[in-house]
């Protein structure tokens, strides 16, 4: 399974809470083992919805949406991404964040040209 970040432009929102919740519930019910809606972030200022998915392919994600949903919040971009948890750096050992109060030390790679 790949991880994707799907960006929507939210052009129209249901005016009723029931319609909104029912629509989003419908989308959730249309997801399946091959396309899992993990989490979303809504940026009201830019009218964008950023959704994290785990899916077999972008096409499988598209297939979960109804036409009206893609009309109300069209998908602008689907990008394959990798997750990075900052907490991993706490486990990295050596001269990491925990040792120096937050600054991340990077070890210089030996210059192989010489």
């Amino acid at each position: 399974m790949n991880r994707y970040l799907v960006s929507h432009h939210v052009k129209r929102i249901y005016a009723s809470q029931d319609d909104l919740v029912n629509d989003w519930r419908g989308l959730r019910q249309r997801t399946h083992a091959g396309a899992r809606w993990v989490r979303s972030w809504y940026a009201a200022g830019s009218e964008r919805l950023y959704c994290e998915w785990e899916a077999l392919s972008p096409e499988v994600i598209y297939a979960c949406f109804l036409p009206i949903e893609l009309e109300m919040a069209p998908i602008e971009k689907v990008e394959e991404v990798v997750a990075i948890d900052p907490a991993w750096l706490d486990e990295a050992g050596g001269t990491g964040a925990a040792a120096d109060g937050g600054a991340l030390s990077l070890r210089r790679t030996p210059d192989r040209s010489t």
Binding site: I13, Y14, Q17, V21, Y42, A44
Partner: protein, 139 residues
């Protein structure tokens, strides 16, 4: 500044917060819409069936007027938005243990009025909740 929710003292504290908080004033500078809290009695106090209401006239980052309606009191205004929930859910939002967005999307907090306007103005809603928490002494 802390006061028990819901009460006249809490409403007065909230109005003071809303009208003095620079951050709320800035974030809510375009907000237009009055609001009614409809607070249902606790389920374990089923004998008490009367609803409590709090009315807030929110306009361009200020609270123009507010009123506490004790249980059963009539003469309620017809606001642009009404938020209905049991006391426990209101308390959970105000106490920080229930996310406001989660409360709306799970319908624990029922919204009457234009949901699209609320979502378009989510930062205002979240900062309003912050002010409610300040008034309740939870923040």
């Amino acid at each position: 500044m802390s006061a028990e929710f819901p009460s006249q003292a809490w409403v007065e504290a909230l109005v003071r917060v809303l009208n003095s908080d620079a951050r709320y004033g800035e974030i809510a500078r375009s907000w237009e819409g009055d609001l009614l809290f409809v607070i249902k009695p606790e389920s374990d106090r089923a004998a008490e069936t009367l609803f409590t209401h709090v009315y807030l006239d929110l306009w361009h980052g200020k609270c123009r007027s507010a009123r506490y309606f004790p249980p059963g009191e009539g003469g309620l205004p017809k606001p642009a938005f009404a938020l209905t929930a049991g006391f426990a859910h209101f308390a959970a939002v105000l106490g920080g243990s229930l996310d406001p967005m989660q409360a709306m999307l799970t319908r624990r907090l029922q919204v009457s009025g234009n949901m699209a306007y609320i979502l378009r103005n989510v930062p205002v809603v979240l900062d309003f909740v912050r002010c409610c928490r300040l008034a309740a002494g939870a923040a």
